[in-house]
Symmetry: C2
Subunit: 289 residues, 2 copies
């Protein structure tokens, strides 16, 4: 079977992404992917899911006996013209005509379209959506902060060995300027402690909060295929404990933000969890506290 | 299809394990499981795997188009009489007639028999082997240290909330006595940083090294089904960095110890990785350094 156009574009994305995380080439590929995904999804039946998440409604696309992941109805707006407008704004380096929530919706629609398409095209493939999401978010983040990320850091070693540690993306805006540590994951589930552990590592090597931890996540939904139910897997009490005892994350951004995490900004230690669209406007005001 | 005898016994193990981690009932269930697993495996063809791990040889059991995980030929000695002898020694509270390596082999043979059986009976089930391994290792650890573990800790909270944090097993031998923090996993792969992060949490809540971190792992092998090859996924440089910048683990025990990790005891910071059989003899000498 010939490789589907979505996957061919995904291959190109990885190839281009290795050269630079932000480029017009990548914008073009993201455009093609979004177009192809909508083209696929529009032919597939939608099934309502029973949402056990207060205040959120979800559906899924189906394909024979395959069922895509849950899609948030309020956030999903598969209008490619919205992305084209955002793309023009990014290209002219001015997104001030956009609301943060609008950006979140556009990005959510693009990301979830790809993930849902892979759910329908492949069988239990988590890697492809995860890798796509990394390139996808890095494109916007890299544009916004204006420097390319690195994915490894040098560890000081007094015994002459050269230790290079593989990390999530780190963005260094220069001496005495902001530095970001940005893990990108489609969800954290029971692995969320890794976000804080990697921050603790960077704190140890470069000094506490020299890199601000700003992970970007897609969602924490989990859908039961048989029951057609959606839940969000959230561990707010555990997150508080991680923020207290392991390291401090500056922000946690989501495209589909779990409501229960929003409350964490009002307790000690404060942990601010926000829609990723907010980053586009607040990034230059973030400072290590 | 009626539930296989192995799985029925596994259900009983979970039920009994909820009452107590060490009991004669559990010993009896482990015996039945081992017996049933060997009974199943003896009827299945063995296939040699191409080992890319220096000094180790592996094979797998097959069942139609299913192939079990890799089994270390030198460690696998499916002789139920050896377990019976160990069981008698444990029952009479004296294992001094056993060598550490012999205990490691007996435990490896039991654990891998169960995992391989599940690989052949079910489809891509990682949860059942993982849960079994937890009950299995906890049985021996609990006998050895003489107290039952807990799997949650109380977090000090000055604002009157009651925060109970779910953890890996913690064993508290009493005031001014040893306390162990013991995650149990069949492998760590790219999630190994979680071992150190959980240790860091306990260090934060109760004081550095008040609980000694002594994780127990089965193996780090990964076999490619098509190529019939086995590799070990090891990250010694990353482990050093975790031990330097996140927390200190006292020991890491394996049933099939990766050779490359053994070298970590000779570098700074020392990290001692040993076969689990050693724990039976050194546990009472371990002290927070």
């Amino acid at each position: 079977m010939p490789r589907h156009a979505i996957l061919k574009n995904y291959d190109s994305l990885k190839k281009e992404g290795k050269k630079s995380r932000y480029s017009e080439n990548i914008a073009g590929i993201l455009h093609s992917i979004y177009y192809e995904c909508l083209d696929l999804l529009v032919t597939k039946p939608q099934e309502d899911l029973k949402s056990l998440v207060a205040g959120k409604n979800y559906f899924a696309f189906s394909n024979g006996n395959k069922l895509s992941r849950a899609i948030n109805k309020d956030l999903f707006d598969p209008d490619i013209a919205r992305w084209e407008a955002l793309h023009r704004a990014i290209h002219s380096n001015d997104v001030n005509d956009f609301e943060a929530d609008e950006i979140t919706k556009i990005l959510y629609s693009m990301a979830i379209s790809f993930c849902a398409s892979i759910d329908l095209l492949k069988d239990g493939d988590q890697k492809t959506p995860g890798t796509f999401f990394e390139y996808f978010i890095a494109f916007f983040f890299t544009w916004r902060v204006g420097v390319e990320p690195k994915s490894s850091i040098q560890i000081l070693n007094i015994d002459g060995e050269n230790t290079e540690l593989k990390t999530d993306f780190v963005y260094n805006l220069g001496p005495n300027s902001r530095k970001f540590h940005m893990p990108i994951k489609t969800s954290t589930r029971e692995r969320s402690i890794m976000l804080w552990a990697h921050q603790k590592l960077l704190d140890g090597v470069y000094g506490t909060e020299r890199f601000m931890g700003t992970p970007v996540l897609l969602a924490e939904t989990k859908r039961d295929k048989k029951k057609k139910e959606v839940v969000e897997i959230c561990l707010p009490e555990q997150w508080r404990v991680y923020q207290l005892y392991i390291a401090k994350l500056k922000r946690i951004y989501y495209l589909d933000t779990p409501e229960v995490y929003k409350g964490l900004s009002n307790v000690f230690p404060p942990l601010i969890v926000r829609p990723f669209g907010e980053f586009f406007f607040e990034w230059s005001e973030l400072t290590p506290s």
